[in-house]
């Protein structure tokens, strides 16, 4: 009975633990890891706004994150040095906390979004995360060589007359939607820990790009499985346990 009860939350988190570390490798490649945290906060604010408007929170979170992802490139043109991501992050956090503090019905969801209460995930969370995860992995596979080329040989697109913006905007949008879906289940910091720490460790140790993706995936999934069991056994919120475990792993390995 209890195994069945926790199967859907486990599978929901597992899908996130597979997608986020791989996505994090590409965000790190582009020096855009702060954007992940910004998308999570914006998604949290969007979910709370939607709740108050009587719309399903997941739709609000996805819509706000999609808006942030699609508009990030324009925003970044005016605000250099990562300021656009920092402003999105701080703005999203402020709106989310104010909504949670002033609207009783938003308070519970606000706690869940920031604490990361994976154990309450149901099939309405699992299917979007699973389908979104498959789409994100396929998109990353298709975009991989162009994202790498944009880093090591950025002139190539101009020289070949190929527009770079569809790749940039497509990647931003995909990252924002993936982070929004993960935030709904793992919480803001749980999702960020999975998108940041496994790639950070993998980049230090891996011999090449392919191995880096493999290392990040393995670290993310292993940490997730251990955190799931620990949080369940100790009756603790999942997000902080996962984050703490990854921080300790990071400190030990680095």
């Amino acid at each position: 009975m209890s195994a069945e009860l926790f199967l859907i939350p486990f599978l929901t988190g597992l899908a996130c633990a597979i997608v986020l570390p791989v996505l994090g490798c590409y965000l790190r490649l582009r020096d855009e890891w702060l954007a992940a945290l910004a998308y999570s906060h914006v998604a949290a604010a969007g979910a709370l706004l939607a709740l108050l408007a009587g719309v399903p929170p997941v739709l609000g979170g996805l819509s706000m994150a999609a808006l942030a992802g699609a508009g990030r490139r324009l925003f970044a043109l005016r605000l250099s040095g990562g300021a656009s991501d920092a402003l999105l992050l701080v703005g999203g956090w402020a709106i989310a906390v104010l909504l949670a503090a002033n609207a009783p019905m938003a308070e519970r969801l606000g706690h869940a979004l920031f604490d990361g209460q994976l154990y309450f995930a149901g099939s309405q969370e699992l299917w979007p995360v699973a389908i979104g995860g498959v789409v994100a992995l396929l998109a990353l596979r298709a975009l991989s060589s162009r994202l790498l080329l944009a880093r090591v040989y950025p002139d190539l697109f101009r020289l070949r007359g190929l527009p770079a913006w569809p790749i940039q905007v497509g990647f931003d949008l995909m990252a924002a939607l993936s982070l929004a879906l993960a935030t709904m289940s793992l919480g803001v910091m749980g999702a960020f820990a999975l998108v940041f720490i496994p790639p950070w460790l993998a980049f230090r140790r891996a011999a090449d790009w392919r191995a880096g993706l493999g290392w990040a995936l393995a670290i993310g999934v292993l940490a997730y499985v251990v955190a799931f069991a620990l949080a369940l056994g100790l009756d603790q919120p999942f997000g902080p346990v996962l984050a703490l475990l990854l921080v300790l792993a990071g400190l030990l390995v680095a």
Binding site: S145, L149, Y153, D155, L159, F203, R204, A206
Partner: protein, 192 residues
């Protein structure tokens, strides 16, 4: 010889004009050198030919369908990134065949674990060997030792013999003299 690229009274720059008018033709199979003191606009000319810098007057004519390759002086940093030399070459479509022995057996090592010279040569090779009709090189001998310069000289000749046009910007007079068919000296107030 067929012309790959031709400039006519070309003046380029970023915010304002930074070069004197330049007439230049590069043909297939030809290696042309651009030399001159710092600040004369050599790199800006390459940037304009590759579509980055602004053309203020004159014009650039390219053969229709021309495929360009460009090596900049400021190669993108790869520190902290797990990318091997073999993966870099695969990305640009460059063949490892013909690499010097001191690099060929280091292809599976991460780029940030190679020496500055090895990394520079591999980046250069990835661009030089990628499919292109005209190759623009900005200070290609930076960080290279004598063996690297010798190998590059020989390879550029082979590349030109295979039909590519090559435009080299360099302060390395000996290299330019050794590899170029023609050298154009840029000066502050006129082009010689």
């Amino acid at each position: 010889m067929s012309s790959l690229l031709r400039t006519e009274q070309l003046v380029v720059g970023w915010q304002q004009p930074a070069t004197q008018p330049l007439d230049l033709t590069i043909a297939a199979g030809e290696i042309v050198g651009l030399t001159g003191p710092n600040g004369v606009g050599k790199s800006t000319l390459l940037a304009a030919m590759s579509g980055r810098a602004r053309v203020f007057s004159g014009r650039i004519e390219q053969r229709p369908g021309l495929r360009l390759a460009l090596l900049r002086q400021d190669v993108p940093p790869v520190v902290g990134m797990p990318l091997s030399g073999r993966e870099l070459l695969a990305l640009t479509g460059a063949s490892p065949e013909g690499l010097p022995a001191w690099l060929a057996d280091r292809l599976d090592i991460r780029l940030d674990k190679l020496s500055g010279g090895q990394r520079h040569y591999l980046t250069l090779w990835a661009i030089l060997q990628a499919p292109a009709d005209l190759v623009l090189l900005d200070e290609p001998t930076n960080n290279l030792d004598v063996a690297g310069v010798a190998h590059l000289t020989e390879h550029l000749r082979d590349r030109a013999a295979a039909g590519a046009g090559i435009l080299v910007v360099s302060h390395d007079t000996a290299f330019v003299d050794a590899v170029c068919d023609r050298v154009i000296g840029l000066r502050g107030n006129d082009v010689g």
